[in-house]
Amino acid sequence: MAQATLPPEVLDDAKARRYNADAAGLGRLRAGAFVAPALVLISLFLVFPALWVLYLSLSNYRLTGAAAAAPQSVGFDNFVKALTDPEFWSSTWLTFEFVLGSAVIGQVVLGFLIAWIMRDRTGPIKRIVEGLVILAWILPSAVVSFLWVALLDRDGGTLNTLLHAQDFAPLLDHPMLSIIVFNIWRGAAFSMMLYGAALGNVPPSHLESARLAGASGWQQLRDVVFPHIRGHVLTNLLLISLWTFNDFTPFLLTAGGPDGKTEVLSVHVYQVALQGGELGYGAAVSTVILLINLVVAVFYLRLLRSKK
């Protein structure tokens, strides 16, 4: 530490610059040691699983039996099997419905609506509405799932009591619609908060002049507000699509049933790989999920970069 005791002005220029950036005198070696524990865990439990899933997807690995002891490479058979399997396509289609209905349409529209009607309000109404919406978002998924099971129950569920209906069982009769409405309820808070922040950035003078020029509410929204928040809309769409696409919570409500009518891809992987024991095939479906995630994430990161 001899060098460290020298006052900074004694050092020559090049040294001073390095000194400045690395103020604690860490040096590359110790910096590497600081990064190492994090990198080890990330490599082991994040990067390695991603590579392993690619390898597994090319094998006939099973949870039990002969193929568990000596798995063999089967090339792209698992992918061919997935792409020709009607169950895979039905899961993909259900996932598409789920993401489109609950995230892209439901959460975005409801979240924006709440942010819009509350935009220049203060006071208890705003606090209560926002508080409830956020509460639905922060409660643990195991709890809210059961609350919805109780709400939608066939005998005595709150919904049936409210509707004075007998034997109406939404989870059995309209399972997909149930998990879509559930997920809108569950996730609207994020969109609400994001749009709330975005609407705060729309200059009030622009809205004022539009109103003076006689623009209707809808015209103001389209011509003044939307151009200002377009970036936020895109960010919001990408993030909630990614989360909803990877969401495992539908499993807690319906476990994929009845008859696989709510078996979205995340649940499908669980069913075929860990319930059915076909690890290789499950890994192939996981690979498809990874690829879709990759496309969405790259798109999102590009967007972030171009903003900077």
Binding site: A4, T5, P8, N20, G27, A31, L41, I138, A283, N293
Partner: protein, 272 residues
């Protein structure tokens, strides 16, 4: 004038509908724990303590909450410690390939989700004998949260002044001492943010403990809650109501605390 009145009426109708939509599913959680012999029906509570007594007699309920605390605290401590060290080094030293590394990490953490990686993680846990190990689960959860945590932490590190570190160094402090006594106090809000974020993520996580812990005595609240309502035919509503409430209270308190203390900070990707 009529236009204005219609506007008002429309607003209040909309607010009423929204309140009903968001409040009705929650009513049960507010009433059933305090109602004797709860059913699915929402009734006026008679404020009995029997349900809580029944819960305290259940062998796994309170233990599972303790398991949730262990998992959440263990993961948060590791995430904060490792993310701080890594973010500090990445912020101050130009390691080769630093920007590419950060970009890749962020990309990986958003594409490798529990859903996509459940098969290999399960297998990895079997191979490393980490099934039914809480420490193993903590390490796995830490690995998943670290990239985003490093990313958030580096923002905090980049915005702290370096002059304190320089003076500490002039007085002969070693790098580890500087990190502990100079940097950590400066980025305390960042540490708190990441700690809370990690706790919230682990507290609600169902998939990973469900896959990797099969011993009932080690399972956290999320898994116990699910087994309470799916196994053994008739769901025990007494237990479910009180357990759901107790399991929810910490996250709500944490949220209130954070939003009061720091205001709401918008970190993209705070939930997964």
């Amino acid at each position: 004038m009529t236009r204005f009145v219609l506007h008002r009426i429309g607003f209040y109708v909309l607010v009423a509908v929204l309140l009903a939509f968001f409040a009705v599913p929650l009513l049960w959680l507010a009433s059933a724990p305090f109602t004797s012999d709860p059913t699915y029906q929402v009734r006026m509570p008679d404020f009995t303590a029997d349900n809580f007594r029944a819960l305290f007699d259940n062998p796994y309920a309170l233990g599972s909450l303790w398991n949730s605390v262990l998992l959440a605290a263990g993961t948060a401590v590791l995430v904060v410690a490792f993310a701080t060290l890594a973010a500090y080094a990445l912020s101050r030293v130009r390691l080769p390939g630093r920007d590419a590394l950060l970009y890749t990490l962020l990309l990986l953490s958003s594409i490798i989700t529990g859903t996509a990686a459940m098969v290999p993680l399960f297998q990895l846990a079997v191979e490393l004998q980490l099934i039914d190990s809480q420490l193993g689960l903590i390490l796995i959860l830490t690995g998943g949260l670290l990239p985003a945590a490093i990313f958030m932490m580096k923002d905090f590190m980049d915005s702290t002044p370096k002059s304190y570190e320089e003076s500490a160094r002039v007085f002969g402090a070693t790098p580890l001492q500087i990190v502990r006594h100079v940097v950590v106090p400066l980025v305390r809000p960042g540490l708190a943010t990441i700690g809370v974020w990690a706790v919230a993520n682990v507290w609600g996580n169902f998939l990973m403990p469900y896959l990797l812990l099969s011993d009932v005595e080690k399972q956290p609240g999320a898994v116990i809650m699910y087994t309470l309502y799916t196994e053994g035919g008739q769901a025990n509503l007494q237990l479910l109501a009180t357990f759901g409430l107790l399991y929810s209270v910490p996250v709500v308190l944490m949220y209130l605390f954070v939003s009061k203390k720091y205001g709401f900070r918008f970190h993209g990707g705070i939930k997964r």
